[in-house]
Symmetry: D2
Subunit: 412 residues, 4 copies
């Protein structure tokens, strides 16, 4: 592809139409019920029968329709969608809480599946990739730790020591998203395998089955008070957790290399889902503005509301275009060239989506902050994106470094 | 008082010192434990023994020390503090979740007590004011309704019809803050008593005991997913709720008159507590910035963090001064002149506190959005203040109207 | 074109390269000298010999190289560039003060030439279009008036009355950009021809030669103190200005119809030139940040400067993409569908460029506000764009109306 | 004064009333005429007869009325106003271009006079202080230099070498404000007297008469294109400029000590004048919003204009209170404690005034950026304040350092 085509391709249009319609007509209407079921069986960390019915029902329908595993790029098994094409679908999936999972396109599974596919042994693929591709199990990605600033990932400290044919892991991880889910069977864990190697070669990634002895679920981290059960963001303790040596991915010291490859597309997906959330929020805001009245007029006609709506529209358009550009850069095959673009959207997309959602909340008044709309939940989720996969400050720093480097070279 | 003295008076200083120290040394350390107890007895809407012990213990200590009912202005029974003086104490109380209640200065009790004192009969005072002053019971203020835009309070629609010696109420109220508390015994309710009277004389306020037959607790409204149990913001249904006619306050059609008198000081208290929350957030942000390291340096020395801290300091100072000025205006005895100042702080103080808290959250990373600091909870509470007692837009409108009026008169 | 290709086409690349290089290597170095010449001959409203030499020299070179009249879209005489393609060139031209004129692509000439080409008689074309295409004369577009809010163009009041074979014009116009230039020979004037017709059919456009008797140049409007001589934004008085009846364009009452067609592309050009100005400002900011030292470090490493640079980069990228999208919409052949996109960029592009330029100025310190860089002049020019062709508020209103309309239709 | 009284004192009220009225009724109406006279006699750097008549006429009136030299604090010769009291007057003076000078309270004269009074010999006082106090001559303060980042004042490099009974100065200064005025007779110059001393003891201040041989006026720096004649911000060259040794103030190496004492009050005055400019801008904005119509309504009733006006009012109130607090801190007698407050207002007051003025400009449309209102000129002047006496970034840094220091001490 030599042209910078940021539009939908012809082959994507019918798929997009189907995904979009299914999200709006079939998934969104069930979101609230799914949430309301949490804990009804007395255990927030298992699925009720109704939850299973909802989720598996949606997945079965999606799969039947061939709307499944879109993220499998350039593969015989998948659609072979470009990142730009996938981005348009991610936006639609972002509009419903169960959107991504319905199509087996959830984080962190998509990134984890890519890792297993690229670097796993046949055994790993059979054990974890196959059921992940089928949507039978789920996975988690264990990165951040409570005692260190994970914004600087070289701080990661969980020890991983070779002992015969095994590696033995000790330490704590938190914000292990999805680890609360009873279906979560496999963790990909960032560990420290050396203190002597160069700074970016001290870390490794390793596969750890969720049921390995020595792992304790200390607690669920809450996001603005919400434990996000049964998905959950767990705080885990590893005490002498022992796994076979060939679970170590690619070799000792290659953790950052894998992380970089893994995070790029994932960040684009996150950002486009955020754009989807922003679009939903703007739609709800507009509808509210037209239907609700105060002082004898629809809210739309009061005060700055036209301006607020216009600003939201403009910011969404710009953020979306930037995401599509980053996706297009990714499709050009040079991840290093794409990196600063991904840093840009990582800052911009959550910010815009947070702003639009906050304005929508304000337009709804008390209802906006409550459980009666999807806005408040959406906001807290979006707020995590300003921290997950690197806080804003780290990404801004990357963008600036690339910018300044242009002129350093000039000097020489 | 002819001078615009916005500082602490000599008489206030020792009181302020005691309150400040008690908040920091005795109340704050118990906040988290109090929260963690919620629901441990299987019922989120009752107090556990430990919660009662914590809360009553703090209250007893405060009362023993004479740190009680500060809000009683110009009264024989209270300190007779000015609004400015009280404001400084409210800031301190705002720093801990249990701060205000420890000193029997919680919303909505303070405003409700003032209403009972001014307009209640001797019976009302004996039954409700006395135990409220003692901190034995609590109260709620029922204003907003799910079906109308309460930002325009003339929309309030709960019917209240005279029937013999009684009034009979029908309708729904939500965001009835504190109505979840088992100690909440009395509601002050905004109702519509006429459709024919001039627009601002169709509404009335009435006392309704919480246990009056016909009141159903439909559900607790959640704030970004948090039900705020056992305090709670309830959605209530009134079906043929019958109370004695002399429960109607001041007479039919005087609801807005009472609301205006009631809300002014309450808004100042809210705003100063928000300033207290902002100060706590800034303190935590600074400590974090100095202790946490990344990329080989304390966070403080990275990127824009100095600028962020400075901006937070400046915005807090300005917002506090504006609150103190509004309090001083209130003390001048002309509520109408004070009104636009109160509208100003109602917009400014929550906004600043939200911003500072959000920056603190960002400095803390994942921990900031979690249950491990008070920041996330503080943020969601502050967010409600942009809606409670009138959304920002309504207050901005008031400020602008006063501003423009200056030049209308000039034209004549 | 069915794909949304926002990149440079293959045919554009060599042209873009030539334009970009000429701007940077030949035009920019002469900008300051050109400015410094103003008034050296004792008359700010004529060209000095050196100014003529600079400007005509550049134009001759550009023309020789075939870099001329790029704006002529889909024409036999021009390149037939799409709006997207032209947009990339406009960005480059925006980087130098004399950029657009060098390539005979200045406002308001491009828009005016289109009007003459589409609606002019053969005589008009011979007299005005031919020399405009040659870069021999210049033109102005007279729209706004001192006594009415021109943001609502239906307020335009200059009278234009049929009298025999002529029309007779009376009234005042201001902000007649370019009317100060001695080479400016023809005005296109918005006038009111009827008070009875429907609101948007009361106005007309008419050709008025600059030397028609009855026109007085009252004064030059200053932009933040700068008269922008010899170009100039004049305040003109029309007293019984008489022109042949067939100078009236398209017929009475069709003024808005022509204005709409005329302004769309012009706004895109303005916006892309603004992006070019922003790019130049960012480049200068970065270079300054690396070369200038304070407190023992390059400015780049101090405080929030990395963050500032990153934010500027991100905002420029987003604004550019939005402009390209608007240009692409324009290329789709449905101006009505493109209109809200043009409104969006009309708000966004000047805002971003102003912000970036202001940050660059701040990075330069005192030098930034002075005549020693192009930043201050660039800023004041950009500031006019928030008002010219409709103030921000009007464009935001348009964007919001389109947004809300989506849901009005849904209701039916 | 133990109380934090930020209001007007009784003694100030009648003075304030007189100053306020004189500014509005006598000075403001002459501002535009004064500006329009610049250069009418063929020399922008001398006063026309009419300019002298306007300025001296106003000064004579002010002096007759005893409204003169208000800045003389705690002095027998002056009013002995506190900084808070003076601040209220500075706000009024800021509303007119000739406001401060009319009352002999202009920058940089007030600061310079304080320096001469405190540190000058009797000869210095006789020669310069006396006529300055009379308003007969003016002065300049020469600090920044073109070749170094003056934000870090330790970079100041003008050499000053002892040679017998003289000092000999060499180097360049720019932004020498007021040095264009033919009445400007004395410069206070920051020079470098040592390269060996500790960093903050290498600089000194020295009196240099404006007519000393060796000083060349290279050019006038322009502010967004305006040379601010006849006041002027000059770029000066010093070549072997020789002055008597006792012109060196306080002794070698004490330049920073003097600068600190000199700048504090000056910054407060600048900030309060900025508040005055903001008030004028808001007043003009409101009047415009009510008188100008578009789309059938006064502008005030369109779009976000109520919100814009309200935000401006709130920001002005907060900024003014912060300035008054800083002034009050200054009055407490501990400049070191006052310093971070002055840094705060140095960031805040120009920012708020710029914002309000920019909104006013936008409300006025084309007229706002033109010479027809005082807004554009006011804006460019305000913009210089974000750089003069230290750029925002430096002041934010100071505020943050004080903030963080609180917790460093705690750690010990």
């Amino acid at each position: 592809m030599t042209n910078m085509d940021l539009g939908m391709t012809e082959r994507l249009k019918p798929i997009h139409e189907k995904v979009s319609r299914m999200v709006r007509e079939e998934i969104m209407p069930l979101d609230e019920e799914f949430h309301a079921e949490v804990g009804k069986n007395g255990d927030r960390w298992s699925y009720t029968a109704r939850q299973t019915e909802i989720l598996e029902g949606l997945k079965a329908k999606a799969r039947e329709r061939g709307l499944w595993n879109f993220w499998l790029t350039d593969s015989e098994r998948g659609y072979g969608l470009s990142t730009v094409e996938y981005a348009y679908l991610a936006e639609e999936m972002g509009k419903a809480h169960l959107g991504a999972e319905t199509f087996n396109c959830s984080a962190p599974d998509t990134g984890n599946m890519e890792v297993i596919e690229r670097y796993g042994t046949e055994t790993h693929k059979k054990e974890w990739l196959a059921p992940l591709l089928e949507g039978k199990i789920r996975s988690a990605y264990l990165m951040t730790e409570p005692d260190v600033a994970s914004s600087d990932a070289t701080n990661i400290s969980m020890s991983c020591v070779r002992d015969g044919d095994d590696y033995v892991l000790n330490g704590e991880k938190w914000w292990s998203s999805g680890a609360g889910d009873p279906r979560c069977k496999i963790y990909i864990v960032m560990v420290k395998t050396s203190s002597d190697a160069p700074k970016h070669q001290q870390h490794s990634m390793i596969f750890v089955p969720a049921d390995t002895p020595g792992i304790t679920k200390l607690r669920a981290m809450k996001v603005y008070g919400d434990d996000d059960a049964p998905h959950g963001h767990l705080h885990l303790k590893f005490e002498d957790v022992r796994v076979p040596a060939d679970n170590l991915i690619l070799g000792e010291g290659r953790g950052f290399e894998i992380a970089q490859g893994r995070l790029g597309p994932g960040r684009i997906h996150h950002c486009m889902r955020a754009i989807g959330q922003a679009e939903m929020a703007l739609e709800q805001m507009c509808k509210r503005a037209m239907r609700r009245e105060a002082f004898g007029k629809p809210l739309a006609q009061l005060g700055a509301n036209y301006d607020i709506i216009a600003e939201c529209r403009m910011e969404i358009e710009m953020a979306r275009l930037l995401c599509l550009k980053a996706a297009w850069m990714m499709d050009q095959g040079d991840p290093r060239a794409a990196a600063p673009w991904i840093s840009q959207i990582k800052v911009v997309a959550p910010r815009v989506a947070l702003k639009v959602t906050d304005e929508a909340i304000q337009m709804f008044g008390g209802q906006g902050i409550s459980q009666d709309t999807r806005l408040a939940r959406s906001w807290t989720h979006l707020r995590t994106l300003r921290l997950a996969d690197g806080p804003d400050a780290v990404h801004r720093r990357q963008v600036a470094r690339v910018e300044l480097k242009k002129y350093t070279q000039e000097k020489v």
